[in-house]
Symmetry: D2
């Protein structure tokens, strides 16, 4: 049995990855693979890599964020949101979400989220761990989105000390199924949150994709709409590693630096975590990357929509397409080496586009689907 | 106040870092700075950077460690230690130590360590947090090292349920003050650990430096000497980010992958964390880097030893030199832009050499010390 | 607002308790109240109180359980179960369940339970807190009971490290809705637990009532049926305070005494927690108490069943009756001072009988229901 | 091996307790034993027992503190301190201290206490556990007492995020070695706490003894002197079980009821925990009990002081006497059945007096010491 975490990873994806292990990784393949398993299968975008390399040319730099690169990126993020805010860098999304939530509630509090939220389904209890036991209260909701009514119902369901007291609403923007909250939807949730004294956390692992979709200023769907803290995703947008936690309510960030340090989320050579953000933020690369991924998903949806036997499961509003494929088609695609997540007991396939997905790859995939569907 | 963690960083170092903020980080300095504050001020070594860049050329790769790079590095580490072992990658040393310790004890257990151990003095309670409250029992000990007798005393001091039960001995190799445990010293500690049913954890943030000093096979000071789990430091050895947790007792690694995931330590684009290790492990770069840092420290010690008014505080056995400088000399050095840690209320200065410290820098520093001492 | 926890207690019950505050508590009422809110509204049964008083006559006694009373009760419980087992005393049910579960799983593990389980609905996240974040995976199930199939589904739903790994099945015996697992049902669950490497925890807050209902030896529904650890309820059976945690798998109890101490669950004057158990265990008082409570519930069910407009919601198998009363009848009963829990948005009423519930009280209540239903 | 916690209890006391196990506990001894091991070896004082019995005469009562007894005791405690405050009842001192501290700090904060403080030495890491990892920073200090200077030193020692940030000063009143902080000493500590933004927690397991010694109003050494939260000890003062947590700064008690519930510290039949307090608080029994215990300690000190070969180790200011006895004398006393704690590697003996210690017992003990010393 392999010693790496890899060996016990997501079983849904395991079978199709066997090939990868055969390649000699030190030899650059002539034809880099771009499939649809996840936007975190993508590499580092050129601008981010360039900034990382650049950060390595200045010799020694103070550690733990006291370097000039980190200061610069923090300022750039404040500029981006057009407000003063506290910015921290962490290594991944589980840490970003878990630590942000932990700063908003105590162990005997609870967090309201959608039943499909990443914090509920894919962080192995990270939010519960870092908060010391806070409970996630899940709600159903169309298109993977929470509604004010669902929140109100969960808040008012119990008001006794035998059940954790709701303190936070956690939104995912864009959602796990590729939909996007509108400005109005977030504001409506913020109104009920205000009335019920709930803080609003936004899991923005794909925040860039949502901004690209809505075509609004980033502030419009964050602090101007009532969001207290944003986990601003970098990895899926083209970074090698790292997310930013942005506190719009600065009071909530009190001693957060200590929390990060204790939680093993303070990089010593911080500049290699922060500098790549410059590559994304300069010249709007982050939005360009997101728009491209979204466009590829739109293209995919368009191509698949017309194929007999294929149906789209949700309206693709960001960089994911969920499509129902005939089971034998899905199998055949996998056999041909295509990679994508499939959900147990269903023919539902998630096709995720990334900053680097090429139009040609989408067209080729869609053509194969069309051919397979036709040949049945 | 700046929003980044930087603003609240180690106060000892703050004053001297002001200059750094003036430089335009996007402009490569003609003369990269190499000072003596810490080996985590150094950059990425060329081989590690090259491997990272290389890992970005193969297109999409499975996430969470199920990529070919990660598998390869795990095997390389097993080869290095000449034994089957479980290997996991985490983002930094606090996480490595805290999670390794948490896998060895429950909240009502305790960990025996030296009073100068990093887990006690510089991880902001990380070990206590991740273990749910395990207590660190500290011992004094010459040269920053634990002794069998000190361990025995702590184990036998209490045996009632009103005090946490010792379960782990944590060694730092090389120690915080630059000394190194010999093979014999570790074996002697392992003997008492065996008798008292304690596991042995090794904080190897500077493991490479210790191996270089002792000139032994890495297995000789780890599993062959009784170590159960090693936190194998990569960052200080030339990586951008990341440490490896190596379980020689594989049973202790049961479900450790879940622990990592929950703790926010599982990288999604894992190959950018793991691949740089290839740069270190191929062609013995890790040892070359460590030997160089050690050699620079030896040179520094040699040069300083002969200067009237300067005395060395500990025997420099790895890449750190602790020297007592006249207070005005230390001040003058800082004023000239040299960076190093000074300990409160004393003239003790820590001069840390890195994989990239240049002989010329050492010579120039020592010359300045000599001149300043003479001019008093 | 009152400073005591009382002021923020279960809101469902608050309104009806106002009267209680008017009475002078130092004056024994001529007519002690016996209503149907909860079996933990009942007092101390005479035999338990007598044992407590007796334990106060022997002068000083060693603290923390090293007294003769505690040793005696532990032995008595071993005799009761006809097996060697480890016995610990804690202060309440939340502590018993939470600490037992914490000893069976790590923070990244999960516990399978019914969606109505007390650990899920009424312990304010205690299990999550004490385990450091373990997730409760809830299943639906008729009559408030888990089934092997429901467990199998939850165990096999996910097998990746992004979701907590199931480690424990938690059964409640008798269940929250007054039903009872048969010996066969427990054995069937144990079989699937064995196959899936799950431990079995039994929340026996009303274990006595279940034994009384099934009329089997206590061992038949615990260790002989595959239960690893039982939280044996004392409070609802007639104690002033306290539950016993009984580990049939003694290996699971390793260092549990440390866990209790750290968790604030080790009584210093332990004999006042343990000795009252003698009152229950001697002469089978615990079973007599349970049989009486069960009989009163049966009587209540019988009386209510025949009333037009009233329907029973579940088959009453222990000491609870769940009945659907017309809303105005429930209101009228409350107005007359009767106390019972009502579930939000429904006319469902829980009528809980205790060891001291008198036949006359049941008859009087049923008569009032009949009269109120008739007068509509 | 016995299954009860007893079997692994405090080893210092184990040997001498063997006899106790021979007695038939159901038979009231003609001569109740009163020795000097601990004030928690004592029983329930008559007034507390009477109140408990009385609370059992009123039939059913609301659970979880919503009963009339609990409300009454809370008001009585507010009257006692002459201020509005929030009062909560918990089961023991470890829970009281740990939960109070957890409400004052986060996991990355620290608590300053004396190196002999019970929270450091005898709660098995309870404070670390309930706070999620907060570190205890210990100071030395004469007579077991913290000083403003020692606090200032610990607060200013580190100010970087790599070390937990001090948030609380924890005082023990009376201290572990029987001394008592004066009003002035507490005020001086409060002044430095105010300047350094630290909260003040008081472990008052023997608060009554301190009040009795100082002969001041209880408010003078608590909120009037700057204490934020007091753990008001009941068990050692004559209760069967239970302590009160009194928040003078009511804002700090926000959601504390949830914390208690989650932590397994909310009694369901609360009146049996709270009512006994009435027995203590009515007619000043709590002070009478404390004064008696103090007087017995004074008598003991007086009698021992004059014996050649015996020396007192600390000034006995409350109910404990620490005396250095010749080793053979201590052994002989133990052989005769006297129980007291002895500290490893020393002849130091702790002689603790309780509310029920009889003058005759003290005289008899002192006489035996005198005789044994003389016979050497």
């Amino acid at each position: 049995m392999a010693g790496s975490p890899a060996a016990r990873d997501h079983p849904l994806t395991r079978a199709s990855f066997k090939q990868g292990h055969q390649r000699d990784p030190m030899t650059a393949p002539t034809d880099p693979i771009q499939h649809f398993a996840s936007d975190n299968y993508a590499g580092i975008c050129p601008e981010a890599l360039q900034a990382l390399i650049q950060a390595n040319t200045s010799g020694h730099e103070p550690a733990y964020g006291d370097d000039s690169w980190t200061a610069q990126v923090c300022d750039r993020i404040r500029d981006l949101f057009q407000t003063d805010c506290e910015v921290f860098f962490v290594f991944n999304g589980t840490a970003a979400n878990s630590l942000a939530l932990a700063s908003l509630c105590q162990s005997y509090h609870s967090v309201i989220c959608h039943e499909l939220a990443h914090i509920e389904t894919d962080e192995c209890g990270g939010p519960e761990f870092f908060s010391g036991g806070s409970k996630l209260l899940t709600a159903k909701g169309e298109n993977g989105k929470l509604t004010p009514d669902a929140i109100e119902e969960l808040v008012t369901k119990r008001a006794d000390i035998h059940y954790p007291k709701p303190k936070v609403v956690a939104l995912t923007q864009a959602t796990e199924i590729g939909t996007v909250y509108t400005v109005e939807e977030i504001r409506a949730i913020a109104a009920i949150a205000k009335r019920r004294h709930l803080k609003i956390h936004m899991d923005g692992a794909r925040f860039a994709n949502a901004v690209a979709t809505l075509n609004v200023h980033p502030s419009e769907i964050t602090w101007r709409a009532g969001v207290d803290v944003l986990c601003f995703g970098g990895t899926k947008n083209g970074l090698p590693v790292g997310e930013a936690v942005v506190f719009f309510d600065k009071a909530l960030a009190a001693d957060f630096a200590y929390r990060l340090k204790q939680a093993g989320q303070l990089a010593s050579k911080m500049r290699f975590i922060s500098a790549p953000w410059l590559g994304l933020l300069d010249n709007g690369v982050w939005l360009r990357n997101a728009r491209h991924a979204n466009a590829m998903a739109s293209l995919m949806a368009e191509r698949l929509a017309g194929i007999p036997g294929v149906s789209l499961l949700f309206k693709p509003e960001s960089n994911a397409v969920f499509a129902e494929l005939p089971a034998h088609v899905a199998s055949a695609l996998r056999a041909k080496g295509w990679r994508f997540y499939q959900f147990i007991g269903s023919g539902g396939c998630r096709l995720m586009c990334a900053w680097d997905t090429e139009r040609e790859t989408v067209e080729r995939f869609a053509a194969e689907v069309r051919a397979l569907c036709a040949s049945t």
